[in-house]
């Protein structure tokens, strides 16, 4: 009754064939399936040198300890109260040590959420350029991870309690963001290493206590402790906290720079917070004599006035602005001298300035740049403008008669 021609047969054949093809799809499915609870997320890695071996310390998140709401099913076999644990192994290379770690961790290590890389000072002084290879080769390693140098071993810093964040690695990351305008990611760091005429500078972190010994609730914490300056891919020195703030100003990386100024008369400090900076470096080359002028334009707010000095007066404010400029001139000059002569590190990118503005001169200078750089004369020309002196104009806790008005 129904047409039973070859047409129906063909349809049936096609149907059977496509069913078989669909089944073959199932055979190959899920081969690289990896559930979230088969994965160990590495939040941060610390690297140290031990003899000729690398020590790699990984901070691995324990999601079971995060206390998901309503999850009374238990913490998946993890114990303790910390939301992370550290796994530290040694190996002949960075990757070698990582492979060693994987043998001791039942879950697959996942590096795609690693946000910070900590290099121990000793390792960094030997150079880090070579070991960066694996970071760029394997896609799981993010080039946006931040790089930090630790005073002492990286292992120590990763052990911090850092109770304010879930992971110490997270704290390192957040500190980085509050310390510099553009935190040094792997990409930025390597760019700077590979570029002519500029050397990288990376924040230094160290382990500190959260207060004096008499503090009852003792915790260890992480703190920004200066700036490590590089020469090519090796750390040559560490600028201390005080000078590094001014150095950052010169690098145009400063976020908030607080400057304390003494009043003309009396005691106390006036504090000025520089919130917006513009840096322009002007080269002046005559033969082998290289002069650099660093023009810095700063906008700031007065944050504190513990003196009897009245900064609401136009003239007084001008004086204050000048004092701040003087201090920048002095301290940045000191910092530049240190990096020029002591550490031979061009973190300000003076060479870059010549390359971009006088490429012809650079060709001539380039072979002897290492020799010329420490001798370059750097002048600092800061212009400070205080925009906002605060909600009150006169010192708050001082009687009217006692306020200096000069």
């Amino acid at each position: 009754m129904k047409p039973q021609g070859s047409d129906t047969g063909k349809i049936r054949k096609t149907a059977v064939l496509s069913c078989l093809l669909l089944c073959s799809v199932l055979l190959g499915g899920c081969w690289d399936r990896r559930e979230v609870n088969d994965v160990a997320f590495v939040m941060g890695t610390g690297m140290d040198k031990e003899g000729d071996q690398y020590r790699v310390t990984m901070q691995i998140a324990l999601p079971g300890q995060l206390g998901a709401s309503g999850n009374t099913g238990g913490g998946g076999g993890t114990s303790g109260t910390k939301s992370y644990y550290l796994e530290s192994k040694t190996g002949p290379s960075f990757r070698g040590a990582s492979a060693e770690e994987q043998r001791g961790v039942s879950r697959t290590l996942n590096f795609s959420h690693r946000r910070v890389l900590l290099f121990g000072e000793a390792l960094a002084r030997e150079g880090i350029g070579n070991m960066m290879d694996v970071l760029a080769r394997v896609p799981q390693n993010r080039l946006s991870s931040l790089v930090v140098i630790t005073k002492g071993s990286a292992l120590e810093v990763l052990q911090a309690d850092a109770p304010i964040e879930q992971y110490p690695a997270e704290m390192v990351r957040e500190l980085n963001y509050s310390y510099m305008e553009n935190p040094r990611s792997i990409k930025l760091l390597l760019n700077t290493i590979l570029l002519d005429g500029i050397d990288p500078a990376v924040p230094v972190m160290s382990l500190v206590k959260n207060g004096p010994a008499s503090l009852k609730d003792k915790k260890t914490n992480i703190k920004v402790d200066g700036l490590a300056v590089f020469r090519k891919d090796r750390v040559t020195g560490i600028i201390d906290n005080h000078l590094s703030r001014f150095l950052l100003l010169g690098m145009n990386q400063a976020k908030n720079t607080e400057i304390f100024v003494l009043p003309p008369k009396g005691k106390g400090y006036i504090s000025v917070d520089l919130i917006e900076n513009k840096v322009n470096i002007e080269p002046n080359i005559r033969g082998d004599e290289i002069r650099m002028t660093i023009h810095i334009n700063c906008n700031g707010n007065a944050k504190e006035n513990e003196t009897t000095f009245d900064i609401s007066k136009e003239a007084n404010l001008k004086w204050l602005e000048q004092q701040v400029a003087e201090q920048i001139k002095k301290e940045l000059g000191e910092a530049v001298r240190v990096i020029q002569q002591k550490y031979h590190s061009d973190v300000l990118g003076l060479g870059r300035v010549i390359i971009t503005s006088r490429p012809d001169e650079w060709k001539r200078i380039k072979p002897q740049w290492d020799h010329l750089y420490p001798k370059a004369e750097v002048t600092i020309d800061p212009v400070v403008h205080i925009e906002n002196i605060g909600a009150i104009t006169k010192p708050f806790g001082v009687k009217k008669e006692n306020i200096q008005n000069e």
Binding site: M1, K2, P3, T8, V25, L26, G28, G29, C30, D32, R33, R34, E35, V36, N37, V39, F41, M43, A61, P63, G64, L66, G67, A68, S69, G70, N71, T72, G73, G74, G75, G76, N110, S112, H113, R115, Q140, Q166
Partner: protein
């Protein structure tokens, strides 16, 4: 043997599908065997009333609801009134047939008295009367709810249209409620429905062509359109498809939809159904046709496009700002309804690096003690949700609450607390559930819900790659799909610039001067000149 395919019909000229080979026999060509044809139906009426009564008793054998009422037409002439109890309005019969004859009003007229033809349509005080002389027609008329009067000595039956009986009145549509807009909905009575349409379209161009489908049900089907707007070839095509239907019964528009659609194996609905007269009117004005079926409050509309499935009648009643926002949300949630569970599965099983660190850690924390893989978890929850929805539809209202409590507590909370499913998947499933309810057309929403499962499986097997493959397959199918020769994705594929005014966005009425281009190429202006309401004055405010 497998079920045959629907007969392929000659296509509209603009259709891209080739005309099929004509040698195929249509599916419904089979004549059911074994049913004895009542011989009376082939014959004309007899002169003798007794013969006719015998015939009636034979035709309506074992039909206890048929009524034979004998009466005297004149002193010499007997008459017989036959009808089905409940389908006629007995008051009408009493007032206009029984009382006048019995009280002898007709007999007093000397002209009428004694003549062979005592009955004349002009003398019956009923609005619709007909004369018939074939049993086939007479029985059909009685079955249709009319009363038939047989008179001694006349080989004819007088059919009085006294259709009545208990039918539902015009009520607010249950499935398509609106905040702003007309609240009347179609009923089960065909003529009420056509009247509701007439109220809205007061033009002689509104045509309603009637036909009967269903060998046993003899269901009246009306195809309606606005002449001058619709493409005449489309009307011809639809009428041909309808007349090709051979089926024993039509109870709902769904029968017809399935029998006349272009692609019977596509999961996507190729016709729209509605309970709302205003929706039908709007569609007729855009050059579509509608099919009414007696006995159901739904009208079928065709041809449709995918965009039509995402439009609600309120889009056009509210100001266009609001409509656009609502439409935006609807499309956003359409994407969510299709892809959200699949994305969850793909991301948690393959692409851990695609989420922000804190989010993946939260998901990892929630999934830490879950015994099932993400795909199994998602399938479990989605299937339970579908079951819950299905259970909720058919339950009496009083029990319905119990189901929602069970669903919310057992599936939602207890399952999470017991560590059987994770909290994120509950959120995903609820969002998907809500998303699928934002789609205005129920039949389209079901398709979306259906497609979610293969996409989820693909995501579980191949991750995002699988989702892309599945999406490509669906998109390919959609671009190939047609509804009465009109491409399903009309407006985007093939692209038309002016149609963009009513696809994703809804342009203000004074900007929508043209009708959708896919209906008819010529004569597609709503108004010849600028539409009323166009801001024309300088100081418009």
């Amino acid at each position: 043997m497998k079920k045959g395919r629907f007969p392929k019909l000659p296509r509209l000229p603009w259709s891209r599908r080739a005309v099929p080979a004509p040698d195929r026999k249509p599916r419904n060509a089979r004549v059911p065997k074994g049913l004895p044809e009542p011989s009376w139906l082939e014959q004309p009426l007899r002169t003798s009333l007794d013969d006719n009564l015998t015939a009636l008793r034979d035709i309506f054998k074992d039909c206890s609801d048929v009524v034979y009422r004998e009466l005297m037409i004149s002193p010499e002439r007997k008459g017989l009134l036959a009808y089905f109890e409940g389908t006629v309005k007995s008051e009408d019969l009493q007032d206009h047939i029984l009382r006048p004859f019995i009280l002898g009003m007709m007999l007093k007229d000397p002209e009428v008295n004694g003549k062979l033809e005592p009955l004349d349509e002009t003398r019956i005080s009923m609005s619709q009367t007909k004369t018939m002389d074939q049993w086939k027609m007479v029985s059909a008329a009685i079955l249709d709810g009319n009363a038939a009067l047989f008179v001694e000595g006349t080989p004819r039956a007088y059919i009085f249209s006294a259709k009545g009986g208990v039918r539902r009145g015009v009520e607010e549509p249950q499935t398509e409620a609106v905040i702003r807009g007309p609240r009347e909905g179609f009923t089960e009575t065909l003529r009420v429905n056509t009247a509701l349409l007439r109220f809205k379209l007061k033009t002689s161009m509104l045509k309603m062509q009637s036909m009967t489908i269903g060998k046993e049900t003899q269901t009246s089907v009306v195809i309606t359109y606005v002449e001058g707007i619709i493409d005449p070839k489309l009307v011809e095509d639809v009428k041909k498809r309808l007349s090709d239907i051979k089926i024993d019964g039509v109870l709902e528009t769904g029968y017809i939809e399935e029998l006349i659609e272009d692609h019977p194996f596509s999961p996507f609905p190729q016709m729209q159904y509605t309970e709302r007269p205003d929706t039908v009117t709007a569609q007729l004005l855009e050059g579509r046709f509608a099919i009414f079926v007696d006995g159901t409050p739904f009208a079928l509309i065709g041809p449709v496009t995918m965009w039509q499935m995402m439009q609600a009648s309120e889009d056009y009643y509210e100001r266009f700002f609001i409509s656009n926002m609502v439409r935006g949300i609807r499309f956003l949630f359409l994407v969510m309804a299709l892809f959200l569970p699949a994305l969850y599965v793909a991301v948690t099983t393959y692409h851990h690096d695609m989420l922000p660190t804190t989010l993946i850690l939260s998901i990892a924390a929630a999934r830490e003690s879950i015994p099932f893989p993400a795909l199994v978890e998602a399938l479990m929850m989605e299937i339970s949700f579908e079951a819950l929805r299905e259970a909720g539809i058919r339950l009496p209202k009083t029990v319905g609450q119990a189901v929602s409590i069970l669903g919310a507590l057992v599936i939602g909370q207890a399952a999470v607390q017991a560590g059987i499913v994770s909290a994120p998947i509950v959120i995903v499933v609820s969002l998907t559930g809500i998303a699928s309810f934002t789609i205005p057309r129920f039949n389209f929403a079901i398709t979306v819900r259906l497609l979610r499962f293969p996409i989820m499986l693909m995501a579980g097997m191949f991750g995002l790659f699988g989702i892309i493959i599945a999406t490509t397959l669906v998109a390919t199918h959609l671009t190939k799909l047609t509804s009465f020769g009109v491409p399903y994705m009309s407006g985007y594929s093939p692209y038309n610039h002016t149609d963009q005014k009513d696809i994703i966005v809804r342009a203000p009425w004074w900007k929508m001067i043209k009708r959708p281009s896919w209906i008819r190429k010529d004569n597609n202006k709503r108004e010849k000149e600028k539409m009323n309401g166009t801001p024309t004055t300088e100081e418009g405010w």
